[in-house]
């Protein structure tokens, strides 16, 4: 079965940060936290059993490695529908789902 990808059409001008993600604007806090959790569990380097609490230190516990962070940033951009300026953020924002939410999504 073919995936949902469609032949490309012109969308936005180069360099634009206008949100284009279909997910943009459709997600509340709980949905965003769930999506983050699903991604982290799917990319975990160690077995994660049961529910992953939102305050779990994901790097300190070895759930993700620093090399996973670029992928996580791109996933966060897809959820936000907007680019992340990694030069402007502190590494501490990648501590847990709580810090990810407050660093990248909280109003």
């Amino acid at each position: 079965m073919r995936a949902a990808w469609r032949p490309p059409v012109e969308t936005s001008s180069p360099g634009s940060t206008r949100p284009t993600s279909p997910r943009d604007g459709n997600m509340d806090e709980s949905k965003i936290r769930t999506e983050l959790k699903k991604w982290i569990v799917a990319h975990s380097k160690v077995p994660v059993t049961g529910e992953l609490p939102d305050d779990t230190p994901i790097l300190e516990r070895g759930i993700l490695s620093s090399l996973d962070i670029v992928e996580l940033v791109l996933f966060i951009e897809s959820l936000r529908g907007d680019e992340v300026d990694t030069e402007a953020i502190e590494p501490a924002v990648f501590t847990s789902i709580d810090t990810l939410y407050s660093g990248f999504f909280a109003p």
């Binding site: 990808w5 490309p8 969308t11 180069p14 360099g15 634009s16 090399l67 951009e77 990694t86 590494p91």
Partner: protein, 289 residues
């Protein structure tokens, strides 16, 4: 005179660097613009090539994508060269680096600086930007020699993958002449850097790895494989797809990365790099990337 192989090589490379010295400020005759109907990257190197996502694009869309693909490739190389220059500068005149190697490092740094100028000028002129790096630096602890090995392995990854692309594009008559020329001059300098980097990395491995516990060796190997995979993933930049006007850029990236045709390309383009790591024992075998 020191007769270590690395020092003999350094003296030879220093001579070549001086013989082939070039001026980045005057070398290029930058065209005002690159025509819309030009290939800016060899189609076979474009990240979607070989997939249905590529064949469903019109030739005009493929060419437009190739413009952002080359911008991403040059940006990646530039961003990879920044820490490389910083690291090489830190090593100048350290007692663990011989005077011959130090002399060559001056050329290495000089040439890498020229490359950053060249890539930055191209990206600013024809794309209006350099794609930013998404990496975030986290402090970590190393055992003795591990950070040094990590640094020189990163150098090799950036340079070997880039060199594969340079060699294909410097011979490709279909692409814009300025792109061909940049790839050629980059390859000429990088072939020297790679010669030095391979010898030095091999010597570091032979020096340090026997002092590591099996756990450290395993950790290092896992990190290296992950680093190579992560470096490849950077070639599938959602911002580049978005700039080329393609919809659902993140989903497109994930699909392209997972496609067997792109995996085959990565294996082919990584053959020299991974072969070196396997041959020297730095990796136990050639991993899938």
């Amino acid at each position: 005179m020191d007769t270590q192989p690395i020092d003999r090589l350094a003296r030879q490379l220093t001579k070549q660097s001086r013989d082939e010295n070039w001026n980045v400020w005057t070398y290029f005759d930058w065209p005002e613009s690159i025509p819309d109907d030009a290939w800016c990257m060899s189609p076979e190197l474009c990240s979607l090539y070989g997939t249905e996502m590529w064949s469903e694009l019109s030739e005009a869309q493929q060419k437009k994508l190739s413009r952002y693909e080359i911008g991403n490739f040059f940006s990646l190389t530039l961003q990879g060269e920044r820490p490389l220059v910083a690291g090489m500068s830190d090593r100048l005149y350290q007692t663990k680096i011989s005077s011959d190697a130090t002399e060559y490092l001056h050329h290495f740094i000089d040439e890498e600086n020229k490359h950053m100028v060249m890539f930055g000028m191209f990206c600013q002129r024809y794309l209006g930007k350099v794609y930013p790096e998404k990496k975030v630096a986290f402090p970590r602890e190393y055992v003795k020699g591990e950070e040094e090995m990590s640094f020189f392995c990163k150098v090799l990854v950036v340079e070997e993958l880039g060199d594969y692309y340079n060699i294909v594009m410097m011979r490709d008559e279909r692409i814009a002449p300025i792109v061909k020329q940049i790839n050629w001059i980059h390859h000429r300098d990088e072939s020297r850097h790679l010669g030095f980097g391979r010898e030095h990395t091999k010597a570091l491995w032979e020096k340090w790895s026997p002092t590591w516990t099996p756990e450290v060796t395993q950790r290092f190997r896992e990190w290296l494989v992950q680093y190579v995979k992560s470096s490849w993933a950077d070639f599938y930049n959602p911002a580049m797809y978005k700039d080329a006007g393609l919809e659902n850029a993140y989903e497109l990236r994930q699909k392209a990365l997972a496609h067997p045709a792109t995996a085959e390309h990565r294996a082919k383009a990584s053959k020299k790099l991974l072969g070196f790591f396997a041959r020297t024992g730095i990796l136990e075998s050639v991993p899938a990337v």
